[in-house]
């Protein structure tokens, strides 16, 4: 008996390894941008299978997956979860791209969103489980990700972040935006520790250099977890890290050639032994991509990247370990002795910007400019999340085409979920828009900042409060990354709808809040009460005291006493009888 159970114990991991399809894939994508910058994207994907609930050895499937990440998700019945941190500003006009390479990275600051399965036992409500899972992961990522109040949760964004599994039955969507959050080293270390390679080998060792990668401009980090379910035993979790490196110094002239060694101050590492694939890619730029020479030569293929058919060069580290490990990949621009900053940039299919016009301390108007540079009209949904004290005026929303005047027909629907002040809550707004081809639409939304109590202001009240990014969701995109072999040549090299980028984000925006004088509570209580007391006292006197009349003789001087006799005292009401 004992022997057999020991045998089982010893053999189970072997069986598990044999039947499981756990696998780990990593990739590094380099994408030169037209303004002399380079977008660098690390992606680490792990596929894992469901734990067998009857298994005697718990979490045997965690050979490649981190229990600290998956346990809270499992316990709280989470179906899908995405955490995204964004620091810095993505420049849509100069990068010729609507957003970073990784499409799941969210708006400015921190953001956590996901789908929760309904609890069949009904022990805990979904909002309680959401609270506990966000707090657990917030602790994991050294970032306050949980809600301070249940009212901060946004539940109307299910359409915008649809479930990857496609089935929405028994699922509830939650989103929590933390626009004030900043991505920093503290969020990188836990990220690396979640990876099976722990930042020690494989491509992750290039990432595990906070001194280097945090000097880059725009940065985004995040994870996306899809938990296995009864009908879909395979789960996936994916981590990404993307940064934008400035290759050309601000002053003086230089070339924009780059190499992995120059970027990471390291040779290419040896492959992580558990990795099933380990790939480095360079996406050739649209403009002058033919002049980019790469050494050593890699495999070239054509791929759809964000609505454009692009040439991508790939190196498989697994297959070419001998030739690549300890070396580096170099990119040089032929016929370019020095980088000249372009005067005109190719335009991304859609650009969006959000600013505040007519800014007053208590009011303002959000102005959202959306440009469709494509040849086709697009259908889109524009969404906003506001804290409860931002009150938008729905009846005053205006849509116009730049230079052509009002076009209210472009706004086909408004879905408005108002907050419930003064409780902590959020307002969400979804506007269904048509973006006509080759034009800019200007959306204006007037708003008022409601007055906060002095205890409701954030500690640094004078600085203001960040408002989450606006999201433009394109409703007509379809992912089709591989070019159709048959008609690849005839097909146009650009098709805006053929893109994995469903969402384009605006910047977050800083709203200053009119503040009271925080030192005044006692003074206000005392002064207001004094005015009230003065009034009460005078009224009380007037109503309860006796009114009468006195005779002051005409010749009497100022100093002489008025002659007052008791008989002359009369009260208006009952004094007459006594006279």
């Amino acid at each position: 008996m004992l022997l057999s159970s020991l045998k089982l114990l010893l053999l189970t991991p072997i069986y598990a390894a044999a039947i499981s399809s756990d696998s780990f894939h990593e990739s590094l994508t380099l994408h030169p941008l037209p303004d002399g910058k380079l977008s660098v994207l690390f992606e680490f994907t792990t596929y894992f299978t469901a734990a067998n609930p009857s298994s005697q050895i718990p979490q045997s499937h965690h050979s490649l997956t981190p229990p600290s990440l998956l346990l809270p998700l499992q316990q709280n019945n989470v179906s899908e979860l995405t955490i995204s941190f964004v620091a810095g500003r993505w420049d849509q006009s100069r990068s010729s791209e609507s957003g970073p390479l990784h499409h799941e990275s969210g708006g400015g600051g921190g953001e956590v969103r996901g789908w929760l399965r309904d609890d069949m036992d009904g022990r805990k409500s979904s909002s309680e489980r959401w609270k506990s899972v966000t707090h657990a992961l917030g602790g994991l990522f050294c970032a306050g990700l949980g809600p301070n109040d249940a009212g901060e949760n946004v539940m109307t964004f299910g359409e915008i972040y649809p479930s990857v599994k496609g089935d929405r039955a028994n699922l509830t969507h939650y989103l929590l935006a933390h626009p004030h959050h900043h991505l920093c080293t503290e969020n990188l270390t836990p990220f690396l520790s979640l990876l099976p390679s722990k930042g020690l080998s494989g491509l992750s060792s290039l990432l595990a250099q906070p001194g280097i990668i945090f000097s880059w401009g725009f940065k985004t980090e995040g994870i996306e977890v899809i938990m296995p379910s009864s009908d879909q035993p395979q789960g996936r979790w994916k981590g990404w890290w993307e940064g934008v490196v400035d290759l050309v110094p601000e002053r003086g002239t230089a070339k924009r050639d780059f190499s992995t060694e120059q970027l990471f101050k390291r040779h290419l590492p040896r492959v992580f032994p558990e990795a099933e694939s380990s790939v480095i890619r360079v996406i050739k730029p649209q403009v002058g991509g033919g002049h980019l020479r790469l050494e050593p030569t890699g495999r070239s293929k054509e791929q759809w990247v964000d609505g454009e058919l692009r040439e991508v060069i790939e190196w498989d580290l697994l297959a070419e370990t001998a030739s690549l490990s300890g070396k580096y990949i170099r990119a040089t621009w032929e016929i370019e002795s020095e980088f000249k900053y372009p005067r005109i940039f190719a335009k991304p299919p859609i650009t969006i910007s959000r600013t505040i016009i007519n800014p007053l301390a208590s009011d303002g108007t959000l102005q959202i400019k959306i440009t469709n540079n494509g040849a086709d009209a697009r259908e889109a949904l524009y969404s906003e999340i506001w804290p409860w004290w931002v009150k938008g005026w729905m009846s005053e929303i205006n849509v116009q085409i730049e230079g052509k005047g009002d076009k209210p027909e472009l706004l086909s629907d408004i879905e408005f979920h108002p907050s419930t002040p003064p409780k902590v809550s959020t307002t969400t707004l979804h506007l269904s828009l048509t973006l006509p081809q080759r034009s800019t639409i200007i959306l204006t939304i007037p708003f008022t900042k409601l007055t906060l109590k002095y205890t409701e202001h954030r500690p640094d009240a004078e600085r203001g409060v960040e408002i989450p990014s606006g999201v433009l969701t394109l409703l007509d995109v379809a992912v089709q990354s591989e070019p159709k072999q048959t008609e690849a040549k005839e097909q146009s090299r650009s098709d805006a709808a053929n893109s994995g980028r469903r969402r384009i984000y605006t910047d977050r925006i800083l709203l200053d809040v009119p503040t009271p004088d925080f030192s005044m509570p006692y003074n206000v209580i005392i002064m207001s009460s004094t005015v009230m007391a003065v009034f009460f006292g005078l009224m009380h006197g007037g109503l309860t005291r006796m009114w009468g009349w006195v005779e002051v003789p005409k010749q009497a001087g100022i100093n002489s006493q008025p002659q007052l006799t008791e008989s002359e005292v009369v009260d208006e009401k009952d004094g007459l009888e006594s006279l």
Partner: protein, 443 residues
């Protein structure tokens, strides 16, 4: 010459109403002016602002209940009125409606004045209307399309119908006013006294007027309106209209004494101070009604003044209602101690309020204390004015009692109102008499 012509014009009140209406319509034709006025916190609070009303109607028309979220605090009565009866989206139509509302207020003031002085009314009709229609507070509230104007009109109609003995109409209007802004409930007792006084002087009337019937009628109207609201939007409006008035959950600055207090006060004292502030409005009802029982209309004047100043979301339009009523009491005005002071401080605050508001909330250079200081001056001045008016009423009462007693006043009482008080003043001047408030309590 011009002054004479003006005096003549003022004497006929239809002329005054016409001029007031034309002036309003002309000013409504300047959208730049009305747009600026609509956003002034002195003229409209979130509970009375036209912008909120428009937003609420917009949301309601799209099939959503505006009371479920956001900030819509208007009474459902107004929501339905402006959704189904007068579509609010039309600027011309709403301009006409607000003009009409003010004309109706002035008309009811004239009616009130006539019932008050049945014999000698001719000379002052126009003046009473003009004092209301051309009061800048009234005019600006109207141009800002604040629903305060509407509340005022309904309240004035109620008072004037009560004074002429039309109890049912009066109570219906009072129920509407109370539904909208709650505080007019406070004038129900003096209003009933007014109706009963009318009954005593006109015993031939068939109108039932026992206190019980009157109160029951009022409750019936009030419950009917609530039922109507309930049928249309459920119970959601309760917390968003009366709930906000009583709990002061919206702290948007206004001219009152509440917003900064409840913005700054400590959370655990909030309920206590809410009680104190609300009770402060209510405690005056009984003593004022008892002491001024011989003139219920005067009691109404004092109570309207108190709640216009001390209600949770006051506007300058509320003060206009009080000032309009005061126009019906020329003998009180002539007995005021410091009318000039009151008037100049009103002028001073009308400069101070917008100035300090813009420093804090528009340019963002000042802080809340600036605007708070201005509202304190305004509140103190309004309070002192009420005390002054009440004192003037007391002094007048003493003078009249003495006049009756000394038999000198007989014959004068039948004369014109202005003449009566002038004669009385002359008599007191000759005798060297003056009214004083003693320190002795009433026994």
């Amino acid at each position: 010459m011009a002054l004479d012509r003006l005096r003549k014009a003022v004497q006929s009140y239809p002329n005054v109403l016409e001029t007031g209406a034309v002036l309003r319509l002309a000013l409504f034709a300047v959208p730049a002016l009305t747009n600026v006025l609509q956003s002034r916190p002195e003229l409209s609070t979130p509970l009375t602002s036209f912008r909120s009303l428009k937003e609420g109607v917009y949301i309601y028309e799209r099939g959503t209940n505006p009371y479920q979220g956001g900030i819509f605090y208007h009474s459902p009565v107004y929501l339905f009125f402006f959704t189904y009866i007068f579509p609010i989206s039309s600027n011309i139509l709403s301009g006409c409606v607000w003009t009409l509302i003010d004309v109706a207020s002035a008309w009811s003031l004239v009616r009130l004045w006539r019932t008050r002085k049945p014999v000698a009314h001719k000379g002052r009709d126009g003046l009473v209307a003009a004092l209301y229609l051309f009061n800048p507070y009234t005019l600006l509230s109207c141009l800002a399309r604040s629903t305060t104007s509407l509340d005022n009109a309904v309240t004035l109609l109620s008072i004037s119908f009560a004074a002429s003995g039309q109890a049912t109409l009066s109570l219906l209007f009072l129920a509407t006013a109370a539904h909208s802004s709650l505080y007019p409930l406070l004038i129900l007792p003096p209003l009933i006294m007014l109706m009963r006084k009318w009954k005593q002087t006109n015993p031939s009337s068939h109108d039932a007027a026992s206190i019980f019937t009157l109160v029951a009628t009022f409750i019936t109207f009030f419950v009917m309106l609530a039922g109507l609201n309930w049928a249309l939007v459920g119970s959601s409006w309760l917390r968003r209209t009366w709930g906000v008035i009583t709990n002061v959950t919206d702290l948007t600055p206004n001219v009152g004494m509440w917003w900064y207090f409840f913005m700054e006060t400590f959370e655990h004292f909030r309920t206590f101070f809410l009680g104190v502030f609300q009770l402060h409005n209510m405690i005056y009802v009984a003593p004022v009604c008892m002491r001024l029982s011989d003139d219920p209309l005067f009691a109404i004047l004092v109570l309207v003044g108190i709640y216009s100043t001390w209600k949770s979301y006051p506007t300058l339009g509320d003060m206009a209602l009080w000032a309009g009523l005061l126009g019906c009491f020329p003998e009180i005005v002539s007995n005021l101690r410091h009318p000039l002071f009151t008037l100049t401080v009103h002028l001073y605050t009308s400069i101070l309020l917008p100035l300090l508001h813009s420093l804090w909330l528009l340019t963002g250079t000042g802080n809340a204390n600036f605007f708070y200081a201005a509202t304190m001056v305004y509140g103190l001045n309004a309070s002192l004015a009420i005390v002054d008016v009440m004192g003037a009423g007391m002094r007048l009462g003493v003078k009249r009692s003495v006049g009756e007693w000394s038999q000198q006043g007989t014959g004068l009482m039948e004369g014109e109102a202005g003449a009566e008080s002038k004669a009385l003043d002359r008599l007191w001047e000759e005798k060297g008499w003056s009214v004083v408030q003693f320190t002795r309590q009433l026994s």
